[in-house]
């Protein structure tokens, strides 16, 4: 079943002055449980595409349909609410709230959803344990390494029980050890919980692990390859 259906998606910045065609008619369908890398050189339109899928920016033309809902028909308030319920975000520079602890950062999104205290407390603990941060729950982001912060960000993204997770270059600021740990964790979530991941990346190590690689050049899909990766988590860890 398609989680995301993208039809003839176009984005033109400065359409009246000096138009910049960031996306030129993207057609893409992403199924539930996919582990998809969107790759391409800088300025190719990867981040713009992720922003369109996440409803963070409006397309000039075309449609993004998520779980059967055309998100361009939603009002500002509805769109924010839709993101809260359906999409998990992982940002390049972690973007955790610096005054909150790891636990509170994860709880925060569930508080926005209006969940009960006992429920969000238990789930935050469970998620942080899953991402390997059981011992660091009460640390503020400034007391966590980059890799640990990104794992908190993944736990936060998962906390709202989204349909899929969008990650914009999640390993860009991480060293190779942290990159491996994060990838291992994302793959585990993908395989064990069938969580759909869509991420943009430059990192060849990440691309190598992806089961689908969508290459974008000049705002167009140049290649869309389904790899034969069935990642062995143990092997991944050893690598």
């Amino acid at each position: 079943m398609s989680v995301i259906e993208i039809t003839n998606l176009q984005k033109i910045y400065n359409p009246k002055k000096i138009p910049v065609h960031a996306l030129n008619g993207i057609n893409l369908s992403i199924e539930e449980g996919e582990f998809t890398a969107i790759v391409g050189p800088s300025g190719s339109g990867k981040s713009t595409l992720l922003n369109m899928i996440g409803g963070l920016d409006e397309p000039t033309e075309g449609k993004v349909i998520i779980n059967g809902v055309d998100i361009s028909t939603l009002s500002g308030r509805q769109l924010i609410d839709f993101r809260l319920k359906n999409i998990g975000f992982v940002f390049q520079n972690y973007s955790l709230l610096p005054v909150l602890t790891a636990r509170e950062n994860v709880e925060f999104i569930m508080q926005l959803q209006g969940r009960k205290k006992l429920e969000y407390k238990q789930r935050a603990e469970q998620l942080l344990e899953e991402v390997g941060l059981a011992e660091r729950m009460d640390n503020r982001p400034s007391h966590l390494s980059g890799g640990q912060q990104q794992r908190v960000a993944v736990a936060r993204a998962l906390a709202s029980k989204p349909k899929f997770i969008l990650a914009d270059e999640p390993t860009a600021n991480l060293d190779s050890h942290s990159t491996n740990e994060l990838l291992e964790m994302m793959l585990k979530l993908n395989q064990e919980e069938n969580m759909t991941f869509i991420f943009s990346t430059h990192d060849q190590r990440v691309i190598d692990k992806a089961r689908r690689v969508v290459s974008i050049v000049d705002g167009k899909i140049e290649e869309d390859i389904f790899t034969s990766n069935t990642v062995d988590l143990k092997e991944s860890h050893e690598n």
């Binding site: 963070l56 500002g76 924010i80 609410d81 993101r83 940002f91 926005l112 709202s160």
Partner: protein, 370 residues
């Protein structure tokens, strides 16, 4: 600054009001327009009791005021005679403390007090005799010889040059106006009681009497305060502009440096309205904390300055004294100062909130996240 300004006004009013006029005066109808010895009111118990029923009234000072020619063997001078109840007068003006020679008069004295300037001009000392020649009640001759019981130094230079105080009964006898008064001066427990007591007395006494508050009796002082206050308000406005820019700068900086954070919050699903409420309370809390800290720091200082006004010396003190005021810079602790400043700052904070709201309302998450 405002405390000093309002403190000065209070002091000016206190000096003027408590030095002579009282907060309210009751006269015979039309006396103030035409200050004639023939427009007198009767000093009756019923009138006195009407005046003292209000709890805010502290003292009532009966006075009979007139003019005369004061003479000695070789010199004469026009003087103002104030016949008064010495005890009540002293309660209001503390006149007994201003005696520079001799002693204060009593209700039954047959002597008078003369002001220092008059004493110097007429070369009169204690126990010398002062001759007064004037017109009494309804055309009678008012002539008398009075021993000088004491000499007083009055703050007001004009009064210091031409004033004679005498006991009320003696003054009434001198004028041939037994049991008659020109005015009943009223001292109240506070400045705030002036308006209600004036209204009450006007209603109770009717048109037979003239009830005037200090503002009606001293319009020049009111004008002086109003014009000075206008300058103070302009200064205050300039200060508020500076403060407003400071607050706006802080709020603008707080907003700009957190635009990315706002972008993250909206991206992950926080409604703008909810974030606006958060920003509102955060800014309000900062504003209230700032006010609280400034009050904590400012109130003891102002209290100290209120208790220990800055004394003026030299020529500055002399010129202030010549105007009839104490040579000090007093500070006010009036609640309105704190209330007005607090409300003004909170209003500035609330107006400055438009900036983060404007930025938040038009915030595009994709741009904020760049």
């Amino acid at each position: 600054m405002r405390s000093m300004q309002l403190g000065s006004y209070s002091n000016m009013i206190k000096n003027s009001v408590e030095a002579y006029s009282g907060y309210i005066q009751v006269h015979d109808s039309g006396y103030w327009e035409n200050k004639s010895i023939n427009r007198l009111l009767e000093d009756s118990d019923s009138l006195r009791s009407e005046l003292t029923t209000n709890q805010a009234v502290k003292y009532v000072i009966p006075r009979l005021e007139t003019f005369a020619l004061a003479a000695t063997e070789n010199l004469s001078k026009g003087v103002a005679i104030i016949g008064t109840d010495p005890e009540a007068e002293n309660h209001m003006t503390g006149i007994a403390d201003k005696i520079s020679a001799g002693k204060y008069i009593t209700a039954n004295s047959d002597g008078v007090l003369i002001s220092e300037g008059l004493s110097e001009y007429l070369s009169l000392g204690v126990n010398d005799t002062l001759v007064l020649l004037g017109q009494g009640y309804h055309g009678t001759n008012a002539v008398g010889k009075f021993p000088v019981t004491g000499i007083i130094k009055l703050v007001n230079p004009q009064m210091n040059n031409n004033t004679v105080y005498m006991p009320l009964s003696l003054c009434q006898y001198y004028n041939g106006s037994n049991n008659m008064l020109t005015s009943l001066a009223i001292v109240l427990d506070s400045y705030e009681s002036v308006a209600p007591v004036t209204s009450e007395l006007k209603a109770k006494l009717g048109s037979e009497y003239e009830v005037m508050d200090w503002e009606e009796m001293q319009p020049e002082l009111v004008q002086l305060i109003q014009s000075d206050n206008a300058g103070g308000i302009i200064m205050l406005g300039i200060l508020y502009m500076v403060i407003a820019f400071g607050i706006f700068g802080t709020i603008m900086m707080m907003t700009i440096e957190r635009i990315r954070e706002f972008g993250v919050l909206i991206s992950i699903g926080m409604q703008k309205v909810r974030l606006s409420v958060l920003i509102f309370f955060e800014t309000l809390l900062i504003g209230i904390s700032g006010l609280f800290i400034s009050f904590i720091a400012g109130v003891p200082l102002l209290y100290y300055m209120h208790q220990h006004p800055i004394p003026l010396t030299g020529d500055a003190a002399k010129s202030i004294e010549e105007m009839g005021y104490e040579p000090i810079i007093p500070f006010s602790l009036a609640p309105e100062i704190f209330f007005t400043q607090g409300i003004s700052i909170l209003l500035i904070v609330l107006v400055c909130l438009f900036y983060p709201y404007f930025r938040l309302w038009y915030l595009k998450p994709a741009e904020a996240l760049k």
